[in-house]
């Protein structure tokens, strides 16, 4: 195994700091250029803004040096860059809204949420010393996830916005619990699957070359299918439903390596979606708007027409290859330009070039997450990191694909870029978890502990050393089964 090679000790904190400078430069330059583009002068508070963002980023960087010195050095700068670009665009849209006397003030709130998110991410890194601790809360996570998913349906606190019942409002603060549910579900799936992967993978009949699961093992997948369908039907939220189900299928595949699960999952979801599309006009309208957005009748229909989608496409087209430049486009002409359609806003002002750069940032972020999953030694960590990285990638795909009309439009937010506290906090927590796992993945094998083990010099110890994670797994105890399974695979 490559993990025991001594030269891999490079922690990368210096690299991270350098990349952070670049990410902060992008974020602050975006903010300054908005001012220059709109009224020809740099915003008066640009120094304070730069100082604030730098403070947050550097604080998190220091927490990493303290608590997770071997964490992946690329993940944090990419998240900061995306968050910063999103903030600049939201600030820009605020100005456009103010000029049209529409409700504004999104940027300040988003800045506040950014601070809260970074603090929470730091807390996760400080309090969660070892990601395997989370495995103890597998079933707690399941209950939390289910609770969060059904929370918007509770009368009194649930809120219906634009036909989707996905909001909760308590004491004046609105939130989308589904954003947090995806983290809880990833924890639950990772914990559940790491225990049951063998039965799921190996038992059951083989049909047409596909290893089918035993009927009784179908239980959990049917429950999750039911939950995501319930989200679709009761909360009318195609996006979250797709997201939760996609997460589950992906993690099931990681755990079992069985394509049959993916096939079964896709068939179930497509079937459910088709039924929903015919049975519920709300969902059917989304498909209509996707297939024939330029029909005048569908364009004019409200709600459920293609007006927003097509206006977003107009914005993207207006941006063209190089964009209009910060502050020179009209992103405010698209409804929800600051949240669901921030990709169209960015595409208009930064052009195809800018959008491709942002997509590359997402690619780097999620592929670093995947790499973390491959690098970490315990099965739970692999599943959790893989699931979290995938859910960010998949959410980006569903949103950007919806805005560019690759797939039907759903109401999901673009990770890090879009306005919305729940989404921002949830994604920063995901980043913190990925950083925590990557620290474990990249940490060199602690030779000293192996030497201190009583069975020094025996074959068992050398196996533990070769296994890499054996030394650190020892003290935490409860994860031994994971290690064994990992060792076998």
């Amino acid at each position: 195994m490559a993990t025991v090679q001594p030269h891999q000790v490079r922690a990368g904190r210096g690299v991270e700091l350098g990349l952070l400078v670049l990410a902060l430069a992008i974020a602050v330059a975006g903010y300054a250029l908005v001012g220059l583009g709109i009224d020809g002068s740099v915003p008066a508070d640009v120094i304070g803004y730069a100082a604030g963002l730098t403070g947050l980023a550097v604080a998190l960087h220091l927490v990493l040096r303290w608590r997770a010195p071997y964490a992946d050095p690329v993940i944090l700068p990419v998240a900061v860059a995306l968050n910063g670009v999103g903030l600049a665009m939201i600030y820009r849209i605020d100005i456009a809204y103010e000029a049209r006397e529409k409700a504004a003030g999104f940027a300040e709130r988003q800045l506040g949420w950014t601070a809260i998110s970074v603090v929470l991410a730091a807390l996760v890194l400080v309090l969660l010393r070892d990601h395997r601790t989370l495995r103890r809360y597998t079933y707690t996570a399941m209950i939390v996830a289910l609770g969060l998913v059904v929370l918007p349906l509770v009368p009194g606190i649930g809120q219906s916005i634009n036909g989707a019942q996905i909001w909760v409002r308590v004491g004046g603060v609105g939130m989308q619990p589904a954003e947090f549910a995806k983290i809880a579900l990833a924890v639950f799936f990772a914990g559940y699957l790491v225990t049951h992967r063998d039965t799921l993978a190996l038992a059951g009949p083989k049909v047409l070359g596909l290893q089918l699961p035993r009927p009784r093992d179908l239980g959990p997948i049917l429950i999750v299918w039911g939950v995501s369908l319930a989200v679709l039907v009761l909360e009318r939220d195609l996006g979250t439903s797709l997201l939760l189900f996609g997460l589950f299928v992906a993690m099931l595949y990681i755990a079992t390596e069985r394509l049959s699960w993916v096939v079964i999952g896709l068939l179930l979801f497509v079937g459910g979606a088709l039924v929903a599309a015919t049975a519920f006009p709300h969902v059917g309208a989304r498909f209509d708007a996707w297939l024939h957005p330029f029909d005048q009748e569908i364009f004019d229909r409200f709600p459920g027409g293609s007006g927003q989608l097509v206006r977003g496409l107009f914005g993207l087209a207006n941006g063209g290859l190089f964009g209009t430049g910060w502050g020179s486009g009209r992103p405010d002409l698209v409804p929800y330009a600051e949240s669901d359609f921030i990709v169209a806003s960015l595409g208009e002002e930064l052009g195809l070039t800018g959008l491709l750069a942002l997509l590359l940032c997402y690619t780097i972020l999620t592929e670093r997450g995947m790499r973390t999953a491959i690098g970490v030694r315990d099965g739970f960590g692999k599943l959790l990191a893989g699931g979290l990285a995938f859910v960010v990638a998949f959410q980006t795909f569903v949103v950007v694909g919806g805005v560019t009309r690759l797939i039907p439009l759903t109401g999901l937010t673009t990770p890090f870029l879009a306005y919305g506290g729940s989404s921002l906090v949830a994604n920063w927590v995901i980043v913190a978890l990925l950083l925590r796992i990557s620290d474990e993945a990249r940490r060199p094998a602690p030779v000293v502990r192996a030497v201190l083990t009583p069975e020094v010099g025996t074959p068992v110890a050398s196996a533990a050393r070769a296994n890499g994670g054996g030394g650190t797994a020892g003290p935490t105890g409860g994860d031994q089964p994971t290690e064994r399974i990992e060792g076998l695979s």
Binding site: A99, R100, A250, Y253, I254, A255, T256, E257, F294, F299, V310, L313, F314, G315, L316, A317, N318, G319, G320, L321, G329, R330, L333, G347, G351, L352, L355, L356, L359, L360, Y362, T363, T366, E367, M370, R371, A373, I374, G379, K382, L383, G386, A389, F390, A393, F394, T396, F397, V400, G401, T404, R405, L406, E486, S489
Partner: protein, 482 residues
Amino acid sequence: MNTPLRRLATVVLVMFVVLMGGTTWVQYVQADSLNNDPRNVRTLYREFGNARGPIVVAGEAVASSAPVDDAFGYQRSYTGGDLWSAVTGFYSVVNGRTELELAANDALTGRGDQLFFTRVRDVLTGRRPEGAAVETTLLPAAQQAARDGLGDQEGAVVAIEPSTGKILALVSTPGFDPNALATHDTKAAGEAFSALSTAEGNPLRSNATKEVYPPGSTFKLVTAAAALESGSYTPQSPLPAPVELDLPQTTATVGNFGGGGCGADPITLADALRVSCNTSFAQLGLDLGDDAIRTQAERFGFNEGFTIPTVVVPSVFPDDLDAPETAGSAIGQRDVRATPIQMAMVSAAIANEGRLMQPYLVQTVRSADLHTVDETEPKLLSTAVSPGTAAALRDMMVGVVADGSGTAAQIPGVQVAGKTGTAQTGDDQAPHAWFTAFAPADAPRVAVAVIVEHGGSAGNEATGGRVAAPIAKAVIQAVLGS
């Protein structure tokens, strides 16, 4: 678990590559068509930010943009109420644009290919780009005469200079005041639009170019042209002219206007046209066959849409007609349909020795610094008939006005060649009154077509000769007097 993780990482990579392809598709491949979508107000906003060029008639701007202090920067305004609405159309933040405001948009915004060098210079010198002026071929006196002649009646008038194809007048009634739609008050503009789009007579649609009517007896010019071009007929060829013509294969018959005979039986081709004898032309149509008439009609421009540069819908002479349909079509009934501009083109081609010129509205495009960037040259569209046929048709049309159904178009001292039409519309409404003409017959300067829908104020008493011919006469006088 590393194998599925690596595969999943590949799947993630593929998802992002697909996204990059999708954005490239929208922002690069589809960008042009999206930017030109009339619902794309963003393009409008961008255009509004720059000075849009004026639409000019005889040196006077009938549509122009002036700076205003609101989000759009410039307000489009129009002169003349509904006089020019069929020409200019409208240019609105809320409702998009039509007619010249649409068709000449590239020139008006300064985005056209012919303005490329102007644009490059503007970029290099840092000048604010300005749209170019679009100067039309219209003659204000002719336009006004046509508008006055139609008055409250629904219909259209088109006048063309036969030798060039210049459009001298283009009026459609009811028209509209484009200012009501161009206002930046989005609510008022939206209400004006919905009121106009549901109003009687559809004011927003130009009857002159976008509406097709049964051409009635004016179509006999085409049938007569087909007969003369066949070589088997001369103006003096005798034609049967019964009171009623039995149509083959059916029990239906064709009668004459007013139900009587045509003054003689047989009758010469020239006289049949002069008195507009239905039965002889129906028989002529049967003898020629639908293919010959269709070929002739297409040489006059039927069955093909074109642009002037505003869109003209195709006039129709249908395929595969049986005998009764052929007989009806030969006299401009049944399924034959024509735009008013099409019937003006028939007269214009006859007036120009058979050579049909491409009609056009835009004479020059002039950049903001008064430099001519584009000039329309007259262009031959087709040779509709031979010069001999054209001369024969001209003489026959002179007879119509001198001593036939079109005497109301006579002008002292000017020989007018014309043809009346009274087109049955099938339902119980009064027939459409048509008149198409050109003058002076020996050296034509103007060809004109007039339609008054459902006889206008004369109702069931209307004939083309009585209702439409005086309007044509006024337009001809306006052109000749200028």
